[in-house]
Structure formats: structure tokens, C-alpha cells
Assembly symmetry: C2
């Protein structure tokens, strides 16, 4: 499994991904799931991938091939982000169709992608491309997208993320969400890759690759854990046998 997430704020975009792939517990490997495509002063895209590794690798190979050949339809020529998402969806569908007729229910060629970035003179955007090839764009109300093992890390995003958050805080939140997922699910694992895109820059900043023993990642996890425990200890007591509690019969509808 995989966990990738992307947060879009007014200041830019934060990308984060784990690096574990597995096909059964005895086939566990490490692969980067974060891929960037830049054309100087014209466009910058980052693609996060989840699902069948053969499908995602084939899609990436085709993206590079189309770019190299300057095909009519390629990331370098896409007129806008929606066209780029549509293009990735069609590559993914084509690749899945090649392998889906094996008649074996345990085989699943599906893959999902998050595409984020910016074209010159356009807004920065993030898109989620489903295995079926269709796609959605993040909105101001829910300015993040996730693929893979997404439920463990969603509550902290729901609580913290808003579009006016700084990129620094959004990046911290992405790492906490990733850490919660890694702790609760063995199929998501380090190194964690973290990349920040500043709106309008048309180029990506430094990519952090955080191994489990990375001092900063360790320090962050420890500070979070201690902060949670301290918060927890300060929560109000459960009011058993206090008159303020409403005791309601829940048998009827309401």
C-alpha cells in the first residue's frame, strides 16, 4: 500500500509520499512515488502515484517518452492542468486495459495519481486522477487530496488544514499525517519524501527525504507524541454521574 498527500494553500503546494511498496508481506520494497517535471519559466508539475507499481511505472515511462518526442499530447504541451490530468488518466486506463484480462480476481492493475503544480500565468492547482481515468480538483473548502491508505492520516488534516495556512505549517501537518499512518499501518513506510512548491515560482524547491532515523523526523514525532499526551491529560473529566449530562433514549429516530 501507499500513502501520498498534497495540500494546496494560498502560498503554494506541499507534496508528501511514503516509499513502501508491497505485493504481499514478503515482497516489500522501497520506491519513490514522487516525480517532478519542469520546463523552465513555463510549467512545473509533481506527480504522486499509488496502486499497481507496474502500472504507475509504465505511465511514468510514457509521460517521459511523450515529453521527449514532444508529442501533441504530453505534459510539456498541456494547455492547462485539467488537460494534463486527462492525459494521465488516459495513459493509466490504457495501461490497465493491457493487463486486466487475465481472469484472475486477485490481480488488480489499478493506479491513482495526484498531479499538482502550475503553468505560467495560471493558478497553482492539485488534481486527483482515479483508476477509471476521471479526475477531481481540490477546492478551497477541502484544500487537500490523498491517495492510498488515506483514512489514518485524515483526521489531523480535517482539523488543521485551511487555505491560509503557511507552507511551513502545511508541511509539518503533512509529516504528522504521514507519521500517524506509518504508526497505524505496516504497509506504509519511510523514507518519507517532502516537497514544497511556492506559488508563482514555476520550479520546485529542495526535496527532503526523511529516513526513519532522521534526527528532525524523530524530533517532530516525539514533540507531537508528547504534545498529544499533555493535551490529553488536560481534557475535561468524563462527567459520569454529573447532572449536566443529557441522558437520552436513543431507541426512537431523531
Amino acid at each position: 500500500m501507499t500513502y501520498c498527500l498534497t495540500i494546496k494553500t494560498d502560498q503554494g503546494i506541499v507534496f508528501a509520499s511514503d516509499s513502501r511498496t508491497n505485493a504481499g508481506v514478503d515482497q516489500v520494497s522501497t520506491f519513490s512515488k514522487m516525480h517532478t517535471f519542469e520546463v523552465a519559466a513555463s510549467r512545473a508539475f509533481c506527480l504522486l502515484s499509488s496502486g499497481n507499481l507496474a502500472t504507475t511505472q509504465a505511465v511514468l515511462r510514457q509521460i517521459r517518452r511523450d515529453n521527449d518526442m514532444a508529442s501533441d499530447t504530453c505534459l510539456n504541451n498541456a494547455q492547462d492542468m485539467a488537460e494534463a490530468a486527462e492525459y494521465i488518466g488516459s495513459l493509466s486506463r490504457a495501461e490497465q486495459r493491457k493487463h486486466s484480462s487475465r481472469g484472475d480476481d486477485s490481480f488488480n492493475p489499478e493506479a491513482s495519481f495526484i498531479l499538482g503544480g502550475q503553468l505560467a500565468d495560471r493558478q497553482h492547482q492539485i488534481y486527483l486522477v482515479y483508476p477509471e481515468g476521471n479526475y477531481i480538483v481540490a477546492t478551497e473548502q477541502t484544500p487537500f487530496l490523498q491517495i492510498g491508505e488515506l483514512k489514518y492520516g485524515k483526521p489531523i488534516l480535517d482539523r488543521i488544514i485551511s487555505k491560509d495556512l503557511s507552507l511551513e505549517l502545511a508541511a509539518r501537518c503533512a509529516l504528522v499525517s504521514m507519521d500517524s499512518t506509518i504508526r497505524s499501518n505496516l504497509t506504509v513506510g519511510p523514507p518519507v519524501e517532502l516537497l514544497i512548491y511556492k506559488a508563482g515560482s514555476l520550479k520546485f524547491g529542495e526535496r527532503l527525504v526523511l529516513q526513519e532515523e532522521n534526527p528532525y523526523f524523530h524530533q517532530l514525532r516525539q514533540a507531537w507524541q508528547e504534545g498529544l499526551k499533555a493535551t490529553f491529560d488536560r481534557l475535561p473529566d468524563v462527567p459520569f454521574s454529573r447532572p449536566a449530562v443529557h441522558l437520552v433514549d436513543v431507541k426512537g429516530d431523531q
Copy 2:
């Protein structure tokens, strides 16, 4: 969907459940998923249920019927908790078999249960009964069990719960886990029911039924949200362009 969880500590057991049932978004109702069975000075059981409501209601009816008739196999006569879990599993399987031959893939009669409690002179225990009728018991390493929409609320349990936690703190943690799930998933909803069992007591304490607007529940959620935000703001800065960060090529296996 549903979210139920049970935490076993040295001091006793905490039970928590939501009350939302839905079959599609236009068939949403409120049903209690928490059911207690007590025989004075002999045994106290609490059963939490998740899955097909017709199945879980039929299982509960049969449990009550068997108890009333003092059948050879019933909760009141079970020699130990494992026998009680086995009994519930067999009732659940029998009920599912009645309805599983409709040949309609969209229909799912499956149900899961958590059984917790104590028999006189035995240890208090918690068991999870799968739809297939088999069951597991919680261990000291992972002293909680969940059924239903369990992933959103798992990270906080993984971080906080240990067997030496007080029942009071375990109850707070159950409510936070429930709140995280309710915020992130529309199919889990209040009222939240909370019940505490003190080891050795052979009877249940007061059951709290917390509506969304319950003052304590509101206060707890607000304190948690504020504590998280404050913790978050104090986390160490992401060390972009600091020499201490390890930049590692993740292309090779490791």
C-alpha cells in the same frame, strides 16, 4: 456504517459506540449498537454490533430468547468468554446464511461484534467476533478492539492506550477517537454511547449518551482541537536547507 471500540485496561473495560445506521445516504437512522446482559453476582457482558442491522437485530433477539428459555447454549450459561464469543459467532453465521442466497452482489448480510465483560472468578476480557464467526481476544500489547469504520480513530489509540491507563483516561481517549471518526466520516454519527465496566464488579456503571450538542462533549472536542493546534504550532520547523538533514537516494532497495 458504524464505529465501535472497546478498550481493556487493568482497571476494567471502556465501551463506546456511535448510533448512526445507513443503507445509502437517504436511509439514515439512529439505533443503539450497545447492548448489555447481566446476571447478578455471576456475569456481565456488553455486546457492540456493526454491519447489517437486520443481522445484528436478529442475533440480539436470539440471544434474549435463548437466555429467557435458559437454553443449554446461551450467554447466561456460557462457561467462559470464549464460549460466549463462539455462541455469538454461530448465531451470526446462521442468520447470514438465511439471507445470503439472493444472488445480489450489492446485498451484504455480514455483521461483526465486540463482546466484553467478565464472569465471576475470571479475568475481564474483550473479544472481536468476525462475520465468519471466528473470533480473537485482545492482548496486553494491543489492548483495544474496533469494528466498523475503524481507521480514522486508530492513530490516537495507537499513541495513547496502554493497559495501565486509568478507566477515566481510557474513556476520554475513546471519545476523542470517536470524535475524529465522526469529523472525517459522515456515516458515523452521534449520539455516542459510553459505558464503563470496573473489573470485578460484575455490573455495569452508568451509560452516557452524548448528543452532538451535549455540553461536555462540546467542551471535550473544543479542548482537544485547541490542544492539537497549540501542539502543532510548537512543533520544530521543517529543516529545509539545513545541513542536519539526510538526503538519501531512495532508488535502491534497502
